[in-house]
Symmetry: C2
Subunit: 505 residues, 2 copies
């Protein structure tokens, strides 16, 4: 009998799916970490101090953001805890919610801040039976959705409704859900920016649809040009593709741009005119570094145009994995859906219900990050200082890396206006491209692998995100600890010079 | 322009999917709860004291199990915390892991048990950077997988390997993953028991495969008969279906039976001979109530037969939502995969990686429940007493409900040997069947809705799980608080007698 299960009799959609951010380079780095005893001591030390060990960060780490599996670059060597503030408070609130018995004890007043205690009490009061270990409503706990809706309303200046919120285990399951809903077969297309976060290509492949690419314009700072989107849409339609939705990632991943408000108006009008669902990945909404840029949610843009429920189906994704909090291992997030008819919403609810509910800790976190301390709250000053400190540090790190990359031979690098990434272009010498071909690698993957082996630094090759054919890039997070950036830059520079010396044409 | 998104242009697989345990009856109950002010006071009180409010339980509740969205029946009115023990310790360990800073404080010694403190330290030492808020390896944190593998090995007496463990947000995502892997199109079939837990039918529908039913034999206590499975397999094959896998739920949901060891040997041999993947839903492995029954994992059965990696692809599912712990809102679980080739395993890893990782709190919980205190541990005696107390109480509740149902006119009820359910058959009068038809409901759904409206008690109609055509059932959990069972039985009995008086032929 033939093998029961073999690669050639698996679902071809699975085989087609690719996922670069956990792809070859990362697997190689992981394996180097776990086999570190086999490596020479120098590399091992570097591994421990400055690259991925997947799952290594903590947001409590004062005034720095962490790395992690997704932002695979560098990892803080130590675990430094700041003394107070909202971010520290997040973990206090979660601890109290996990073990509500603590709230009966006097001793907690010396261990937890008054704000954390009162937040935990408020949250537990929203949870039927105070039971953080029970299944919730499949959209998430109603009281937490109310809190999130209220946070959205304060952010946008337009009302939001708890019934529109679906709490999810991070943003990814919400993206899969919408792809599953919209894609019938390979004749259904989804417009996706290139470069893109590969969740989109992976999810479209897994659900058997067609990715319709539109290219972001690197020469205008990764601008989104409606004319190109329209051209791609028309081209896809001429090939018989029923284009159902447009994905916009704002701030951009991996490209780090922040859309201008005018551009967002054009996108919304375009989607309405063309009958497209707008899937707005807004998980980096807190991560804005450019002084002249501001985050505007697509929900706000839609409502500002006077569009109501009849005009545009819109899904806005948010996650607790980003921002200045970065609690990615907690897997919290939500999607806010507006502009869908009641029967379609019922189908969305049904799919959500098949997995019962998202994890309650993640639900609590989503409600916390959408409702940080207010100006009138006791902890506001420390929260504000902490948040501003983290975001300012991220901005400095982005700038330092951008400047450093731009100085290197053959590398050009756009500004990081937002998100957590730089996506420099690297003009590789022909000799390097040939060496890559001989090694059966994409040229940028070849470069990234050499970088990893020489320095312990992990970047993700641009080929995993998509790029204009013939151009090569890599994605680099801006998350290394600020004080380590000079050493990283110097190590990177030495590697790059050596690489170029070896392969220069 | 036509509506951008309407039910008639959605993915037909989504439309086809049904999910009864969060279906009409549950939605109706939810809506009654949240609109309780509109109900008469009596029903409102009842709602609060004895039915579903989704997400209302806590496992810490001494000597009782909770209800929840999934086990939709009855809900404890209050939240009683037991004083010590492993289950209490679970929430202590989670709180310490959420906020590791606590471990530096002397005061915790009066708030947390010594065991919890030492467990939390052990767990944090397994997590790179002690960062419980960071993404982990896509299979889950390696140290936690090691702990789970060691728990499996102690359970089975055969080795287990951390590389075979995939930690998941509850068991459901692991089921979807395997369906996604195996199902190419509607010509791919999956053998599923009827009655079944509707996750299976929903997942097969969502992935576009064919459910190949085999019927459990109610007259032999929901026995699984290989001859029937073989007949259904051959019938499906004769219709051109490529049957890829056999689902076994042991202990059974919704049917509560526990498979005999001999029967399990036959199932394993059958799968090997027929080239089927064995998908073993073993989430109720701790829930055994019959003195003459014992849980044997299929992994143990496979290895006891001397089968190795070449012989049988097997997936074993476990969850932190069941057992005596029931931490369903934490969404923890794992699948152990054995018997798959390296290239197939890579595809499984790739799909897992698209959602980055499961939530870390759930991962920690899965490692805890697979490694309860050992006989040599200080807390063993209290853990053992607590666990035995809960399981004994569940057994008494199952018995009380079984006896009560069996006394009712037209109802027959098999023993609950395991899991958390009874699945009584109800012989409905013709007049009731006609009234149901006039109301456009399945007869058992009609009965369940009347029950809910009259008593506030929620049961899930058998038609959501599948049943021999022309028979009617309902699923009832055994989770109501033990002291409330007499009142529930009496209320149920009054309803049933009134219903029968109204509809008796």
């Amino acid at each position: 009998m033939a093998a029961t299960v073999a690669v050639d009799n698996l679902n071809p959609k699975v085989l087609k799916c690719e996922y670069a951010v956990r792809g070859e380079i990362v697997i190689h780095a992981q394996s180097a970490c776990s086999n570190s005893c086999k490596l020479n001591q120098d590399l091992y030390l570097l591994m421990r101090s400055s690259i991925v060990t997947l799952g290594t960060h903590n947001l409590l780490v004062s005034n720095q953001l962490h790395s992690s599996g997704r932002y695979v670059n560098f990892v803080p060597a130590e675990f430094k805890v700041c003394s107070a503030g909202f971010l520290h408070g997040i973990s206090q609130v979660l601890a109290l919610c996990d073990h509500p018995d603590l709230l009966k004890k006097e001793e907690i007043k010396t261990l937890f801040s008054a704000d954390s205690i009162s937040r935990a009490k408020q949250i537990l009061a929203l949870i039927p039976g105070r039971a953080t270990g029970a299944y919730s409503h499949s959209q998430g706990i109603k009281g937490l959705r109310d809190a999130i809706a209220s946070g959205i309303a304060s952010r946008d200046g337009f009302p939001a409704n708890a019934d529109d919120i679906f709490l999810t285990d991070g943003a990814s399951p919400g993206v899969h859900l919408m792809m599953q809903l919209l894609i019938r077969n390979e004749k259904d297309g989804i417009l996706v920016p290139i470069p893109q976060y590969p969740l989109y290509s992976a999810s479209i492949a897994l659900h058997g649809g067609s990715l319709v690419p539109y290219y972001l314009n690197e020469s205008t700072g990764w601008g989104l040009e409606i004319s190109d989107v329209k051209k791609q849409l028309e081209d896809a339609r001429s090939r018989g593709i029923d284009v159902r939705a447009l994905v916009v990632i704002n701030p951009g991943n991996p490209t780090g741009q922040v859309l201008a408000e005018e551009n967002q108006y054009d996108i919304v009008k375009f989607c309405k005119n063309e009958g497209l669902v707008l899937l707005a990945d807004e998980v980096y909404q807190e991560n804005i570094y450019a002084d002249n840029k501001k985050f505007h949610s697509f929900k706000k843009i839609v409502r500002s145009l006077g569009y109501g429920e009849e005009d545009l189906p819109l899904v806005s994704y948010q996650s607790v994995s980003k921002g200045y909090y970065g609690e990615c291992g907690k897997r919290g997030g939500y999607m806010e859906i507006t502009g869908f008819s009641a029967p379609v919403r019922e189908q969305i609810y049904k799919i959500a219900s098949v997995n019962l509910c998202s994890n309650i800790t993640g639900q609590i976190l989503a409600s916390l990050v959408m409702n940080p301390p207010k100006a009138s709250d006791e902890s506001y000053a420390s929260y504000k200082a902490e948040k501003d400190g983290i975001l300012a540090s991220l901005a400095r790190r982005a700038k330092a890396l951008e400047v450093a990359f731009s100085k290197l031979e053959g590398i050009t690098c756009n500004k990081a206006e937002g998100a957590m990434y730089l996506f420099p272009q690297i003009c590789l010498p022909q000799k390097a491209i040939e060496a890559a071909k001989a090694a059966n690698k994409a040229p940028d993957a070849f470069y990234a692998l050499r970088l990893l082996e020489s320095t312990g630094i992990v970047v993700v090759p641009g080929s995993g995100f998509g790029q204009v054919p013939g151009t090569w890039h890599f994605r680099c997070t801006i998350l290394p600890q600020e004080e380590k950036i000079p050493a990283i830059i110097s190590r990177f520079t030495v590697f790059h010079e050596t690489f170029m010396a070896e392969y220069r044409d």
